[in-house]
């Protein structure tokens, strides 16, 4: 982890056409290779912020900077997992996973290899040829995560990626994400609703206020790495979750 900022939002405000004031003067800087979690009440503008950071939505005011350069278009260097799985219904599980590689023009052999590895990682080998219509909610979400990881983007924006996963899979996927993050030196911004999850994973947790969303707390998580699930019962962990829960309650 370095101190250099890779992705930054500067004084972002956003008003939707129907008058909903979603974001109010949000500034945030993601340090290179940091893992940041974003928590906040339902409807406060977390997804909106992620869409703006990904270059998908031009903000009403403010800038997004990637490596100090303003961006106005989505970048392949930024991977995003949407809140909905957003699978293409006419592509099989395999086809959905390999889509980013195909779009990037990767040769077939390498593509196959990577896709199979990813299928394995998300534990869906036997469903390679299944269409999304016959998947369970959790399976679809695992594919969406795999699809964002597969082309190895530098920055990962994750919008509640583990929402539909059972406790065990969720823990497995979290650990996997930590491993990928540590190994590939990625920068991660993840929206989550689980406070323990945020504390377990993040270097910093940002807390957003109810709409219009502002960042009202920026909590450093000084737990040493590597971390594992055993942390969950350590008193400093519990204290941190309590502190976070408290600052969220205040924000409400």
């Amino acid at each position: 982890m370095s101190d250099q900022t890779i992705l930054a939002a500067e004084q972002i405000s956003h008003l939707y056409p129907d008058g909903i004031h979603a974001l109010d003067n949000v500034t945030l800087r993601l340090a290179c290779e940091s893992f940041v979690c974003l928590v906040g009440p339902s409807g406060c503008g977390k997804s909106t912020l992620l869409r703006i950071l990904a270059g998908l939505l031009p903000p009403g005011a403010g800038h997004v900077l990637l490596d100090e350069q303003p961006i106005t278009q989505p970048q392949r260097r930024i991977g995003i997992v949407f809140q909905k799985a957003n699978l293409l219904p006419w592509r099989t599980v395999y086809g959905n996973l390999s889509l980013p590689l195909e779009l990037a023009g990767m040769p077939v052999a390498e593509r196959d290899e990577r896709t199979l590895a990813m299928l394995n990682l998300i534990n869906l080998e036997e469903f390679a040829d299944t269409y999304p219509a016959s998947l369970s909610g959790g399976m679809a979400q695992r594919i969406a995560i795999g699809r964002a990881l597969i082309h190895d983007p530098q920055v990962l924006l994750l919008d509640e990626p583990f929402g539909a996963l059972d406790a065990l899979t969720r823990e497995q996927m979290s650990e996997e994400l930590l491993r990928i993050w540590a190994r590939h030196r990625k920068t991660v911004l993840m929206v989550t609703h689980s406070i323990p999850e945020a504390v377990l994973l993040a270097d910093r947790v940002l807390v957003m206020s109810p709409r219009p969303g502002r960042i009202v707390a920026d909590v450093e998580i000084p737990l040493s790495r590597p971390r594992s699930l055993d942390l969950l019962h350590r008193p400093d962990f519990v204290a941190l979750t309590e502190r976070l829960r408290h600052s969220i309650r205040t924000a409400h």
């Binding site: 972002i12 008003l15 008058g19 031009p58 903000p59 005011a61």
Partner: protein, 287 residues
Amino acid sequence: MNSRVQTVDEGRPDHQTVPASSLPSTLLVAQSRPRTRWNLLLAPTVGIILLLIWEGVAQSGWYASFIVPSPVRVANRWWALAADGSLLRHTAVTLREVLTGMMVGVLAAFWLGYAIAKSRTAAYALTPYLVALQAVPIVAIAPLLIIWFGAGIASKVIICALIVFFPMLVNTVIGIRGIPPELRDLMRSLEANPFQTFWHLELPAAMPVVIGGLKVSATLSVIGAVVGEFVSASAGLGYLVNFGRGTYDTPLVIAAVFTLTALAMTLYGLAAWLEHILLDWHKAIQN
């Protein structure tokens, strides 16, 4: 820097170039699609250009005036026709055929399409015959229909209904079949009766595609009436076209064709208007 076209055209201007500091956030303007007035001027402009070209060609003398009569002569003929009331009379005849035909054809197609989309039995039993019926070239059997149903309005209404039928049918089937099964499950879990399912789920969900069928039908229906009037009629705009042709009155032909075109466009416009008011939610999604 790709997929630019799409972004620009979707009306998402690059607002981020406005420095945030100069803009107190409470004054932020809601980002709505810019309703560029220039766009609205495009169509009339093209229209005027086409008209000028026409006038130019007519005056150039490249073509004899009977092949390309000048717009002014056509307009005069049209006024003359309108002034003595005969335009209104012929338009009324055709309009009546078209409206009746559309009503019959569109309603029949909608309900049959609905049945086909929902019931395998209906699909198996009906589809081949409906396709066959539609595949029979209506212009080829129009004279037969005139013999069977007389030279009056009935035969034209039937021709109109037949030609309008298929686009509506196909789009209704697609629309109803395309309803997500999850939403059907929702209605079933709430014990919605068939009528409620139709009214609260199927009709609104299928509407975008069904209205597409209606738009196609609107323009085809006018063709249907003209086909009927060509075979035999003593009034109506199609008759007027034929009469103009038979008497070498090209301005009359053009005036009648323009009136027919206006009729079709009006019907299309009605369908588009229906779309506009019924599919508010759909537009919202597209934004």
